[in-house]
Symmetry: C2
Subunit: 126 residues, 2 copies
């Protein structure tokens, strides 16, 4: 049996993936996988996703080097959401924050998460 | 400014919500909210969702009593996913497991999460 066989893929052939840091247990991000991304993630132990905006397979960290080593892959009771436990290199968010969920509602969205790197340096044009 | 104003609602008017237990930091489930569910969640400090299968507003725990007291509401960098930190009563999953992500891939999906209650007792017909 393959890892993608029991999964309830959505109408686009995708499944949402919650990504959690293995040691801190912080929730880092949510991304989407197609079957190819899931199989590649399992085989390489490195998180791959499917980019909905670019419509292509995406190795997390391919530009920044901020890759995610996979420690565990969980499925939910409905077979329609994955939880990935990873070792996150440097930070998960392209804004430079450790987690993409760096804002909290306090009568408005307020930055509460920690900033780890300067995104203009990491993603600068050549 | 209202809590729903900046959110990128999908084509169904929904946003995915990752639900995390506040003390253990365990990821419990993923559900969906519409604007009404989000506003009600903020006002009552108790998690409400929108059921995609039943197409109606849903107070989490309305049958089981396993409600979720909200401790924090976070938004991600793209404004299209919410992270809810909650105090979970008893368990999150209708199967009786603490978390909906109770299975882990080990050459097949294997139950690794803890079971907390007997679902046939909690959801029995009157």
């Amino acid at each position: 049996m393959g890892i993608g066989d029991d999964i309830k893929w959505d109408e686009r052939g995708l499944i949402p993936v919650v990504v959690q840091d293995y040691s801190s247990k912080d929730v880092l991000m949510v991304a989407y996988m197609n079957k190819e991304a899931l199989e590649l993630t399992l085989r390489t132990e490195t998180a791959h996703y499917f980019s909905r905006s670019r419509q292509k397979l995406w190795l997390k960290g391919e530009t920044s080097g901020h890759t995610q080593k996979v420690r565990a892959i969980h499925i939910d009771c409905d077979n329609d959401t994955i939880l990935l436990e990873v070792e996150q290199k440097v930070a998960a968010c392209h804004t430079g924050h450790w987690s993409c969920f760096f804002r909290t509602w306090k009568d408005g969205w307020t930055v509460t998460g920690k900033k780890v790197f300067d995104s203009s340096e990491v993603y600068k044009n050549p």
